[in-house]
Amino acid sequence: MMPSAKMLPLMVAGGVVTVVVGFVLVVLIISTFSNPPFGLGNAPAQPVAFPHSVHVAENNIQCEFCHRNVTKGEAATVPAVEQCLFCHQNIDGTSDTASAIAQTEIEKVRTAFETDQPINWERVHRLPDHVRFIHEAHIRYFTDETIPVKYGINGEEIVESPDVAQTCTICHGDVGNKVEVQPKTGQSLKMGTCLDCHRENSVPTDCTVCHK
């Protein structure tokens, strides 16, 4: 049955409302499930193209070797340039497996060290100012063998105590096999994520544990 001419404006109006509301809903739903929303939080270009995959997956360097504060304090911290030079004094990228890019990037690090210039990395995960997150405490928990069962961030049961590097992947995902680290590499790091995991593990969920 053809709608009457009178009903047309009503139908048009209804259609517009449906489209607008639908669009808003879709945007909100996508932004809820995609992390970060629409790739807005993709890590920007780093000053030195540092491939985690080469260091971790290929050369088996443990996370805490470079992020050495991760077992000692709140922040994991990026390594000092000096520390890169531990290896890169000798490894200059001229071996046949390395590409020309590797050579130039390693050269950047060496130059920085020689000229006494700190490297300005771009932050990938930004913790809000009102949140206290202590890496050390989390690693201590997951690596503690006296606790029989622990639960991962998605509720998965962890029976074997992981080592430090495995603990990192619980939240940060498989960084070791990624060339470029992006927020989406790991878990969505929202308050609910923290809260779910704390509840699973029966550890304190008092607000002041994380909020400052």
């Binding site: 809000p128 009102h130 050390e136 201590r140 304190p204 607000c207 544990v209 909020h211 400052k212």
Partner: protein, 276 residues
């Protein structure tokens, strides 16, 4: 393992007979908690932030005049009037006897402040500003509250948390080096004192008028006072009569029934001013 934090119950004892009103606690609090600089305008508008403030009450007329000082800070009430009225749970009571304000949840209705009998909640009427260089002093353990947010004394929860993390981290008895069972890794008074984990005002108070510890901590200075104060409440709840004339322990505005976790000790007054 994360320490069993729920076992603590913090409390402060304020000895009014020791307090001289010197303002050391006030500035210590401002230094620790990133409290905005109280400009002249803030005072003129009566919007100055002093999480702990010294109130001075006059008594009598010249020449028989007295001034009494009382430090007033958030009383961390067990039955806090501010808590039920917050529509968003930005303020709530935690298991450690603390009344907590979560800044990022606050929407700014100011109802909590309206309903606080002690007037110890402070609203950020303006965005706090510091000269660029002074920002270096800001404590990274404490959020800077933006405008539209209610704030108040937190018992320096960041210092307690720092202490707890250190206790956990060490997991060892400091003197003997024995490993402490996880459940017993509590922050006791001695550790708080040595590790600078006491609230900033308590640490500064030159007359020791402020004392802070776990209410159940035998080694701490507050247990006996809290035991007595709780006994008073219990007696009253059972309809008994408390003889107040021989005890120094009291809670501010006890009759409202807020059960504060701050206990005051009466001022001793050999020559009271005759009340008109």
């Amino acid at each position: 393992m994360v320490a069993q934090r729920v076992d603590h119950k913090w409390g402060m004892v304020v000895d009014l007979d020791r307090c001289t009103g010197c303002q050391a606690c006030v500035v210590a609090c401002q230094a620790e908690n990133n409290i905005p600089i109280n400009t002249k305008d803030y005072f003129q508008q009566r919007r100055a932030y002093e999480w702990i403030r010294i109130e001075r009450y006059w008594e009598g007329q010249f020449p028989n005049v007295k001034a009494k000082f009382i430090p007033i800070l958030c009383q961390h009430c067990e039955n806090a009037p501010c808590e039920p009225v917050c529509p968003v749970f930005a303020t709530y009571h935690n298991d450690e006897g603390m009344n907590v304000q979560i800044y990022n949840r606050c929407v700014g209705t100011r109802y909590c402040s309206v309903n606080c009998p002690y007037t110890v909640r402070f609203f950020n009427y303006w965005e706090p500003v510091w000269p660029e260089r002074l920002r270096n002093q800001l404590n990274p353990d404490v959020t800077v509250r933006s405008r539209g947010i209610m704030e108040k004394c937190s018992f320096c929860v960041q210092r307690l948390r720092r202490g707890e993390v250190n206790v956990e981290r060490r997991g060892l008895e400091p003197l003997t080096g024995e490993r402490i069972p996880t459940a017993d890794r509590k922050l006791n008074y001695r550790q708080m004192k040595e590790g600078n984990y006491l609230p900033s005002c308590v640490q500064a108070c030159p007359t020791n008028a402020l004392q802070f510890a776990d209410q159940h901590d035998e080694t701490g200075p507050v247990k006996e006072h809290f035991d007595e104060a709780n006994e008073q409440i219990e007696t009253r709840e059972h309809g008994g009569h408390v003889d107040e004339s021989h005890t120094r322990v009291y809670r501010l505005f006890e009759e409202i029934g807020t059960k504060p976790n701050v206990v005051y000790l009466k001022k001793v007054e050999p020559f009271p001013v005759e009340k008109a």
